[in-house]
Symmetry: C2
Amino acid sequence: MAKTAENTRERIIEAGARIIHKNGFNNTGIKEILDEVGVPKGSFYFYFKNKEDFGLQVLEHFTARFGAMAREVIEQPGVSPLLRLKRLQRSFRDFFEAQHCTLGCPVGNLAQEMGDLSPAFAERLSTAVDAMAAMYRGLLVEAQRVGEISRDIDARETAYFIVAGWHGALLQMKVKKDIGPLDHCLRLTFERVLGVPVPDED
Amino acid sequence: MAKTAENTRERIIEAGARIIHKNGFNNTGIKEILDEVGVPKGSFYFYFKNKEDFGLQVLEHFTARFGAMAREVIEQPGVSPLLRLKRLQRSFRDFFEAQHCTLGCPVGNLAQEMGDLSPAFAERLSTAVDAMAAMYRGLLVEAQRVGEISRDIDARETAYFIVAGWHGALLQMKVKKDIGPLDHCLRLTFERVLGVPVPDED
């Protein structure tokens, strides 16, 4: 694609991501997005086959963006695995606090909304959940290797359970407009699920 | 309200609940519901102020229905608190298996969908989450009283955490079309969160 076209495509995806994150996929009209970007409706179909194809590209945009945000934290050199796990949840907690306890995780949101309605969405969302769990699993395996947590813990299952707890805590945050559920989730993830205190920052 | 009117109102709510549970609130049109019930559009506004008012009444219908389903299990006499907790999650797990891993929890679904869009929904959903957590909390306090779990566990926070894990596991079930996430969630809720084996049925 020529540079301008690629740029227009990206602008449509970015505006779409912003609006869909806030209002949901089915609740967002193509016209609303294009009006914000200032692109005529006809050209939408130059870039995207249909609304579902557009939605899948928005999902890809979300996973790339939040994946990068996560990797920045979990790949910090010289930091213990459990402290990186804490910082991973803290960084997203701080993000949601800055957003006044709105939005939630786009992967969790779309899983709820589209999991039954579109097999293509379900498949990509399943992969996105797997990627989230794989990040936690990697940290848990590292933590077991250095003796931070028990080797009795099944790193794979526990990783999915931690992701589940986090997604559920985000729902509580959203309806209570309170960051507390994320703080409790972080603490109980350490104290009860992993059986260790929350690591200190120093 | 006269008996026939009350009956029509209930039929609209029941059809709405079925369609909204499957497709989401914003993705469901009033016309679609009324067509199924065979009621003209004009009379919708005889029963409901607007779509939001209708949605709140559908939410009430959901919480009454699933609350009754839950109470039937947790109020079983002569059954240990932890076994009732297991049966609570098992009964919903079996419900979702029978639904081919679709739908999810209507409270969780609407929390995700409406938590940012309607303060009235957010408030009622927060109350619904509190009610779910209160059921778990009651079982945990009982379990502590009879010595089934440690008194070091904060029953209140842990109850919210268990609800969060369950809601998140439902998202994984929905995108994977696999009951496994609910089974893992149940097991880890016992083994890791509560620090005890899953209780046997006998």
